[in-house]
Amino acid sequence: MALLEAQNLKKVYTPRFGGQSVQALTDVSFTVEEGEYVAVMGESGSGKSPLLNILAALDRPTAGRVLLDGVDLNLIKDNVIADFRRDHLGFVFQDFNLLDTFSVRDNIFLPLVLAGRDSREMEKRLRPLARRLRIEELLDHYPYEVSGGQKQRAAIARALITEPRLVLADEPTGALDSRASDELLSVFSEINREGQTIMMVTHSARAASRAGRVLFIKDGKVFHQLFRGADDYDRMYERIHDTLILLPSGGDPA
């Protein structure tokens, strides 16, 4: 059974006071297997963000359904959906979304504290994670005191500390310079090699080239997908590039 299964997702935004409704997703279906590293690519307005919001259970689809571990997200009641999200999903955002009122350590602890875990257990989980993400020295600093790359690594630690089934990343390199981006992508590859399932939305071909599979979205539909196979990063990058060039013309890239 696939870890994540999106079936015929459709999303229509209807303005509250009448007006033209907007179809963000037309018909999106795909599956993600356990241990996969999937990138979703598309231009602005292609429907990437609505898709991610639906996968993250932050929003509900107009039609279709999402199964995580065989559980239909539509059927989870509103009052427990936040718990479900916290226990099963990890998030990494473009603008980090660290709370400025907490130290780095407390930002990483936040989901565990919300889940009511014991403080010793939190500390035990944090230690190896902090070493792997090289943020051990930053733990007692505040977000405003550390660099963008360090912030994003802290955010990854926060996403991973709950040991989620799936990590959802929304443009994780979007606010980073190229060196910090490369570092971050290496971290992603590394945790993926250790078995973590990752789904990343991006419009950077360089970021997508690290993934095992790339889904292209256009006009609310999955337009095409690429598998890495045995290709290295550079070869993959070229193939993504070629696909992107073809995308606007609507031609068949195959």
């Binding site: 993250a56 932050l58 009052n79 936040a82 718990d83 999200r85 916290r86 226990d87 998030f91 955002f93 979304n97 660290l98 709370l99 400025d100 009122t101 907490f102 130290s103 407390d106 602890f109 936040l110 989901p111 504290v113 919300l114 889940a115 009511g116 403080s119 939190m122 505040y142 977000p143 405003y144 926060r158």
Partner: protein
Amino acid sequence: MKKTLFYFRLAAQGLKKNYRLTLPWLLAASGMTLMFYLVAFLSDSDMLTVIRGGDTVRVLLALGRGVISVFSVIFLFYTHAFLIRRRMREFGLYNVLGMRKIGLARVLLWETLMLAGLSLLIGLGLGIAVSRAAELLMGHLLHAEEITAFSPIHLPAVTMTAILFLIIFALIYIRSLMTLGKSTAVDLLKTEAVGERPPKANWSLALIGSLLLIAAYAIALTITDPLQAVVYFFGDVILVVIATYILFVAGSVALCRGLMLNKRYYYQPRHFISVSSMAFRMKRNGAGLASICILCTMVLVMLSSTLCLNIGMRENQMVLYPRQEDVSLSWDIGHGWDEEAIASTRELIVEEAKKAGTGLKQVSGGRVAELYGTLARGVFTPSDLVFNAQSHQLSVVSLQEYNAITGKNERLNPDEALYMTRNTSWREKKLAVENVGEWTLRFVDDLLPLHSAAASLLPVITLVVPDANGLLATLKAAYPELSPWGYCSWFYVFDTELDEAGQIALRQAIRDRFVEEIRASAASDGSFSYSFTSAAANLSDFYSLYGGLLYLGVLLSVVFLAATVLIIYYKQLSEGFEDRERFSIMRKVGMTRDMIRQSVNAQVLTVFFAPLVMAGLHMCFAFPLIRRMLMAFGLANAGLLALVTGACFLLFGALYLFVYRATSHLYYQIVSDS
């Protein structure tokens, strides 16, 4: 010309678009203008010239005018900083879009002019509209006999108000220009997004704050002398103000940091978010919260003490001066009553009354020995006049005088006595006077016209004994160094058929002749004192002083309350804008809406009610000090003060709750926007 119109319209739009910020500020500024105009107008009112003691009220109101003007400057300047910080982003955008700083300065000028014009227009307009009502209310409180003519627009007051507020607005404009001048376009755009340094606990400062507060409280508790209380009160107030600011700014952060160190407490969903964000909030809002706390305390102290004076003193006057005229002569206790002087004074009074064309009615009075000392465990020990918890006055009246005054026919055995009390609820079966004797007591509920004004400073026990002269003789023998700790007084009180002016004139005539004919022979060694009081004169003095104080107290309370409400409103507003972002992040990380609401509710509630609780604490410790001060005014009824203070606190708490409700609604509206 076209350009001017452009800047004008930009300024008007800016004010309109930010109505949530500008409207309350405009209202507050108008309110301050209104209050200042009213007080300036009243202090120059013709009504004060026809009221006896009007000059006292004039001085009080002038004092109030000073307080309001200083307060207005600080308050409007301070709150406008908040307003301008929010606007700077918009100005940054204009700057980026190509408007030069000189243009921005012109927009700011129009904005400031509009705010100034509107506040003056609204404030002065309303002030002029309600000035007659305010004057009549003052007349009513001061018991003015005559309603004077009224000119609707009082030019000197208008000018004074306009000048003061134009200066304030000029200062505000200069400050805005300085903020604008030293920043680049990017600075302006980022004004709000500056990364906030995490608060560090300043333990030593927190300790200093606590020590200062403890010291201030200790002073308040240890001072027992009413006159000293008045002197120390203002110093103590300043100490409390400083301590409050330090505690709210540093102490609260230190407290939160301390809680964070306790991991088992801190890493719990309920405490985690509230403790950490409170540490942040307190750092930024500590000063605001301290201001709220101080303003609350000021309102409470002013209202409860002036109200208490008004209620309590009226009662006091009735007891102290039950008759229109009140004459008393006092000799040192070692000297005893000078019967000759008493007889000739009585004759003199009857003659003068006849001259004034009136007979004497309801004549009463008699002899009383007033002793100072301490009362502990049913034993009274004579001593010098001091003020501490045990200080009492013992008034000794003979049974013969008592029966004559009350018309009763009581009989007593030599070891029996009747007693009455004032300013105390002391009730015992027996009373002993150290080295003199002991009596079995029976309580009677009479008011004898045998009180000097000083009697209101202390708890008084009036003892009616069968042989007062015998008691005094034993006392003299037991305390040979008899000194000013006691007086032998003679009281003579009566009504007349004269009107109030006649009563006051009669008092003057009697007094003049007394000084001329009897004073010199009554006692040459200086241990003699006398007082001639006309209740009518006293009452109007009383009304002008205490009525004036109450009126001023109410006016200032309104000003401070308006300020408190505005500070609270801005706090909620700014916190709402800040928390909006945090809300959405926490939701993404897996916090349910309910959890967020609970946590935020708890924080807002704590932050909101901390100043009120602190004000309550200040009031509790200020209570003994205020009590002593009121004693210096001649009011010793602690029960009344407690009641009035409690009532004021409850009323204020209810009002505070209402403001909290209204503004937290606004807060939720802002955060749920996301």
